[in-house]
């Protein structure tokens, strides 16, 4: 992310944004980008309003006060803008960071770990803000995150990097094939399952089989049918859960996934 924004220099290669090479057009490109890298650190001794005004003035275009009020409203900081930033919670700082990134109406937002350090409520608020910026305001948003579940909820396209190398990229709904969701079924450990599964269609989906636990790779839509079959075979079902598929997908790509027994 830092390299994309010219904060660190690549050993080799070039960065292109919307087809324009970054190195020679840095100022031009940065005028149409809003970014938060890691934490949105600001001047704690200044108010939220002052911080917003300062970074708005640095954004390369003349921004009226009405626009500052507008972004404060959008990120939910209206009424708190006169408080010193050092008195803000992490979530408020994060939202002010988004306001700073948005104030000059950029086409592209680059957010590095936008939910870092936030409590669950803050994470949910940030997630809905990001989704709204994309859906309602038409912004292109590039997010990097280690929280794959967040990406799964927010992103439409993704690119996975493992040990500095691109592993895969594409549309999230195509990459996360619903037929390959992992379904964990906790069963009565004493249930006599024997070879009952072997001759059924479920055997093809079975990934692991341990005492009291069966794991299937299948479309979650088939879960009710599987449950009915297990019950019909007198196998007590204690719990069924679908594992986060992006997490599993990532692990499978990086060879750390569970292996079929």
């Amino acid at each position: 992310m830092r390299m994309l924004l010219g904060l660190i220099y690549p050993d080799s290669g070039s960065v292109y944004i919307n087809g324009t090479e970054f190195g020679n057009h840095r100022r031009y490109l940065l005028a149409s980008i809003g970014a938060i890298i890691e934490r949105p650190d600001m001047y704690g001794y200044l108010s939220g309003w002052d911080n917003l005004k300062i970074f708005a003035a640095l954004s390369g275009s003349k921004i009226p006060a009405t626009r500052l009020h507008e972004v404060l409203e959008l990120v939910g900081l209206k009424g708190r803008e006169k408080d010193l930033v050092k008195a803000y919670s992490q979530g408020m700082k994060q939202r002010l960071g988004i306001a700073i990134a948005l104030v000059h109406q950029p086409d592209l937002l680059i957010l590095d770990e936008p939910t870092n350090g936030l409590d669950p409520q803050g994470i949910a608020e940030m997630r809905s803000l990001i989704v709204s910026l994309s859906k309602d305001h038409g912004k292109t948003i590039l997010i990097s995150s280690h929280l794959l579940v967040e990406i799964e909820h927010m992103a439409t396209s993704m690119l996975i990097i493992h040990k500095g190398k691109k592993v895969v990229d594409g549309q999230v709904n195509q990459l996360l094939n619903p037929d390959e969701s992992l379904i964990e079924v906790c069963i009565n450990p004493d249930a006599a399952i024997g070879d009952k599964l072997t001759l059924t269609k479920w055997n093809k989906c079975l990934q692991t089989r341990e005492t009291g636990m069966l794991t299937f790779k299948m479309n979650p839509a088939n879960t009710p049918e599987l449950t009915r079959w297990l019950v019909s075979q007198d196998i007590g079902v204690l719990e069924i859960k679908s594992k986060h598929s992006l997490e599993e997908y990532f692990l499978s790509l990086t060879n750390d996934t569970v292996t079929k027994n």
Partner: protein, 279 residues
């Protein structure tokens, strides 16, 4: 550029730390003025001991001009610390706060940012020296009145008529601004290397102290390097209180200080332009 400079100055003067320097200058000046008010006559008596046996000295010797000269001699050694407080913090402080990466994702170039930081430090330095001039010269004149200035040197005794003093102070303060700008540019350079302000501030003072000691050591080994140390030229302001004024030496000192300032600033831009921002 003007807009960016206004923002930078706004940030500097919104920070309470900035005013510490102005407070220190005021406090030290007032302490010296108070000391001279209470015990100035005996101080003067001690200083001209021996001279008054050979000369008949009349008039107001303990005047505002002399007190200002005494204040400048005591204070100009410490002003670099106060200048380094702001200039040393300018880039490293942003890195420490984490705002440097936010600044550099805005459409401003790195050389532009360095130039803004330098200009803001220069303006701060000018204001600090002007403040020193106001509290030292104005208040001393108000408290002690005016008179001829006696400049006692180790090998000479110079009497400057009171009508001939003010322009010398103006020139001396102007020279002090140049000398302190050199310190500001050094602090800015060290600030570009660091990610917290303490290092550059202490390093600047350390360098100034070490070089000042070298500048003052009367050891033949150092005689060859002394003319090239910027600290040897920082006391050039005293030349304006000589008779005749050594314009040649003062001009050379100005050139050396300007060269150092340019070199420090150029190196800062060169280094900072290539630096990976990891903070």
């Amino acid at each position: 550029m003007i807009q960016l400079l206004r923002i930078e100055l706004y940030k500097i003067f919104k920070r309470p730390r900035t005013y510490i320097s102005f407070g220190i200058v005021t406090a030290i000046t007032f302490v010296i003025q108070l000391a001279m008010l209470t015990d100035g006559k005996s101080f003067i008596g001690f200083a001209i001991q021996g001279i008054d046996e050979q000369f008949d000295i009349q008039g107001n010797m303990l005047n505002g001009y002399l007190v200002t000269y005494i204040i400048l001699q005591s204070l100009l050694i410490h002003i670099p610390l106060l200048v380094a407080l702001v200039a040393g913090d300018s880039l490293a402080g942003e890195a420490n706060l984490g705002t440097l990466r936010l600044l550099l994702t805005k459409p401003i170039t790195r050389p532009q940012l360095v130039m803004i930081k330098f200009t803001a430090s220069f303006i701060y330095t000018v204001l600090l020296i002007i403040w020193l001039a106001v509290v030292a010269l104005l208040f001393s004149v108000l408290l002690f009145g005016t008179g001829d200035l006696i400049n006692l040197k180790s090998d000479a005794f110079i009497m400057i008529l009171k009508d001939d003093v003010l322009w010398r102070y103006a020139a001396a303060f102007g020279f002090a601004i140049l000398a302190m700008t050199t310190i500001a540019s050094l602090a800015l350079l060290l600030s570009a290397f660091a990610d917290n302000s303490i290092g550059p501030i202490i390093s600047t003072i350390g360098i100034v102290v070490v070089l000042t000691i070298l500048s003052n050591l009367e050891i033949p080994l150092f005689h060859h390097i002394k003319p090239y140390l910027f600290t040897s030229h920082m006391i050039g302001w005293k030349g304006f209180f000589d008779d005749p004024v050594p314009y040649g030496a003062i001009g050379r000192s100005c050139m050396v200080l300007l060269a150092y300032t340019g070199a420090f600033l150029g190196t800062t831009i060169f280094y900072f332009n290539r630096k990976d921002i990891q903070s």
